[in-house]
Symmetry: C2
Subunit: 464 residues, 2 copies
């Protein structure tokens, strides 16, 4: 008979993994941020065939150091300034352990009432904390929130709802979705995956925010030529520069033309926990859906995306399919939420646990402090860049991202980014809008503080 690891062995090995992770968190700051590994080098350390016989747990632990570590990109380093953050935090890590141990499957309320109800409740907490409309609370019975895997999944899901809602009016090939030309690639991908015919890129102003007059002209022109505009996506914090689209004005246009209005606040949503940043979402009354990623900046490790809808019914109408083996009394009464009807996948993990633990471990005030400190550090970095003749700021910096160029041109800018990344001491992301290359400095990793940003500035100063 196969022998399973006993509870005693689980304790022993579990402590060892806890120690390993603690050591990683302790030392990650001193590791090169980016790996220096050739394609295929990690795979070459893994045998070509699975072992027939069991291996000792110690061998797995050893291979974390021998095989995995050389191929790790240290997203959890406080010297991480690349992309957007993909934060974690100690309570979130431990919640993953507890959730994995419980092994819940939350597709229906009845298959794990705790998974469903804690998710409902904690997402309602966030509605309050982020100043979102009251009708988005699960407790309202009208709108509601759901955890999805990623913003890509959430956006794809609402585009499918927008398509489904208008399916009797036109062929999908004649439907149109509008985004700014600065919107995240996931929206164009969502349009493609949903089979929608057209994704129009609306021009932006000097601050990279959507030009609402251009949006309305494009909608009118498309209707004129017999197409069916179905949705518009606003960004609060675009990926390239964290530009903020005029959400309220876009909402009014969406309402006038009967478009689904989806708000993508994947990164910047976390900032809304601080009242002063809500100037960037002054009026969400004309938003049909809103997504943000606690797994970016709220210290809840991936995956944990939140999607809210102002009216749950169109989402459920699109996604619900109930075969006999999933029917049950609780669902039939309509008294509970069955989250399988709120997204594409059926199965779901107990992801609300880590969100719950992070919010309670830090308290709302603790999270606000982290966000405000990151934004302050970004402003300070911007001041330094602005005061230095060698550099030019490339865009406004409303949150924790600063974008800049080297005045000597594209080549010097790209070389500087490459030199920072090659140093092992920090990671930044070079990016491009039209013909301009610029460097993105994204300040938001959980433990990034003053000395890390000072060190980055020293590096920029030295390598420029």
């Amino acid at each position: 008979m196969t022998s399973h690891m006993s509870p005693e062995e689980f304790r022993k090995h579990g402590y060892a993994v806890v120690d390993w992770v603690a050591r990683y968190l302790e030392t990650v700051e001193d590791l090169p941020v980016l790996p220096s590994v050739e394609p295929g080098a990690i795979a070459a350390m893994v045998p070509d065939h699975a072992p027939e016989q069991p291996e000792d747990f110690q061998a797995l632990l050893d291979d974390l150091d021998r095989v995995v570590m050389p191929g790790v990109t240290n997203w959890q380093s406080p010297n991480w300034f690349a992309y957007f953050p993909a934060n974690a935090s100690p309570p979130a890590i431990l919640a993953e352990l507890a959730a994995a141990g419980l092994g819940q499957q939350g597709m229906l309320w009845s298959t794990s009432p705790a998974t469903t109800e804690i998710e409902m409740q904690v997402l309602d907490w966030l509605v309050g904390l982020m100043g979102l409309p009251d009708g988005w609370r699960n407790a309202s019975g009208l709108g509601g929130g759901v955890i999805q895997m990623s913003a890509s999944d959430a956006t794809h899901a609402v585009l499918v709802v927008a398509r489904h809602r208008r399916r009797h009016e036109a062929s999908v090939e004649d439907m149109v979705v509008y985004v700014s030309d600065q919107a995240h690639s996931s929206i164009e991908k969502g349009v493609t995956v949903a089979g929608i015919g057209h994704c129009r890129k609306v021009p932006v102003d000097d601050a990279f925010a959507m030009d609402v007059d251009a949006l309305e002209s494009m909608i009118a022109a498309d209707e004129e030529r017999g197409l069916l505009p179905i949705a518009v996506v606003s960004a609060i914090g675009t990926t390239a520069t964290t530009a903020v689209d005029p959400v309220a004005a876009i909402g009014r246009v969406a309402h006038r033309w009967d478009l689904w209005h989806h708000v993508d606040a994947a990164y910047a949503g976390t900032a809304m926990i601080c009242e002063e940043f809500r100037i960037h979402q002054p009026d969400l009354s004309q938003a049909d859906s809103y997504t943000f990623n606690p797994h970016k900046w709220m210290m809840v490790n991936f995956d944990c995306n939140v999607l809210w809808v102002s009216d749950r019914q169109p989402l459920i109408d699109t996604m619900s399919i109930v075969p006999p083996y999933l029917r049950n009394d609780a669902s039939d009464t309509g008294a509970v939420i069955d989250y399988r009807d709120w997204h594409v996948p059926l199965g779901r993990r107990f992801r609300a646990l880590k969100l719950w633990w992070v919010l309670r471990s830090y308290g709302a005030e603790g999270i606000r402090e982290v966000v405000r400190e990151h934004v302050r550090l970004a402003a300070e970095m911007a001041d330094r860049l602005r005061a230095d003749d060698r550099f030019e700021l490339f865009a406004p910096h409303p949150f924790g991202l600063v974008c800049f160029t080297h005045r000597d041109g594209i080549e010097r800018t790209r070389e500087l980014a490459a030199a920072i990344n090659a140093s092992g001491k920090a990671a930044v992301t070079p990016s491009q809008i039209d013909d301009t290359w610029f460097i993105r400095v994204s300040i938001g990793q959980t433990t990034t503080g003053q000395r890390h940003v000072d060190a980055l500035w020293g590096l920029i100063d030295q390598l420029a």
Copy 2:
């Protein structure tokens, strides 16, 4: 300044969570399998607002017992015979902890070479272990495997590929997908979400397997009326009864009519690690894609779905969108896999770690023993039911699922299922095909052994 949990505190609290999980695994067998909780009872124990100030970690741990446990459905109990298993195992649970600690983001090869290459390699292990076509290995450069969140996501993704591939030939509203009338609801949902016009349910034979002649007649009739058949989905192990569609014959029909052929082995795929079960997938040479869930029966906790394609190009052509901020040298050379182009979401966790750890901890032989023991126990349960005048077997039992009815009719069958579930000593799933209700006994939880199945039989005997 916000204070984060120090590495020392992380160690201490981490040990406590390990202890909590160990105790859960030790005691889950004695807990009522299903919760007895009214809708809203768990939510009522969670405050309506997030705390402003930090709470002690001990309060979170206490609430695992006070708030979470009353609302837990014990999927990890060895007395779990409901749905299909959603297995976990000690090495998988610890791998989740390590993966959460590392906090990798594997969207691109360059954003975590280890996440990508270990996934590539371990999925290639499974190709060998499960007797799948060699060209499906990632190392082949032709086909390949990728971890997705769920079989629903995998199936939806390939339906989108099938649609995309034929997009110039017809409007999506005129496209048709074929499944047996026993196929999992995720396929009909995938068709709806992909916006495909028609999902035809092909009739089944007495063993609930797809009637291939009927399939071919339906395809011909649809072409005749100007529709475009684009895909057919075969099941190896349907959800209701684990019926096995004639995969080879369906493959030939698919090839003749230029249909994408997707194989759904979500539950039964795990059994293919034992050579004797491969009679159920005699010829996969005409399969374009194949999905199975290590998170069902292979002791790798949710989420861990695997999708293979025989040719990676149509998948990448459909899913790839490359904005400037995701461009990088490694990807531009084409030397590496960027898994973001293999599914809808962009971000991805290091889920291959738990698959790697489980395969190594048990060894292939250890997993085969677990599967064979579950199938043996199912056959024994079937023998007992067959030998008892009160019961009737409802379907063949090629794997670990046994379906039966009470001879006194639908009401007695449903009452028996309800009585078993109300006992707290075991959980089964009542289900329905046409007018017949039957009881599904799914034997496959990691630690389910002889005495648990004996106890279930005792319960059935007593309550019938």
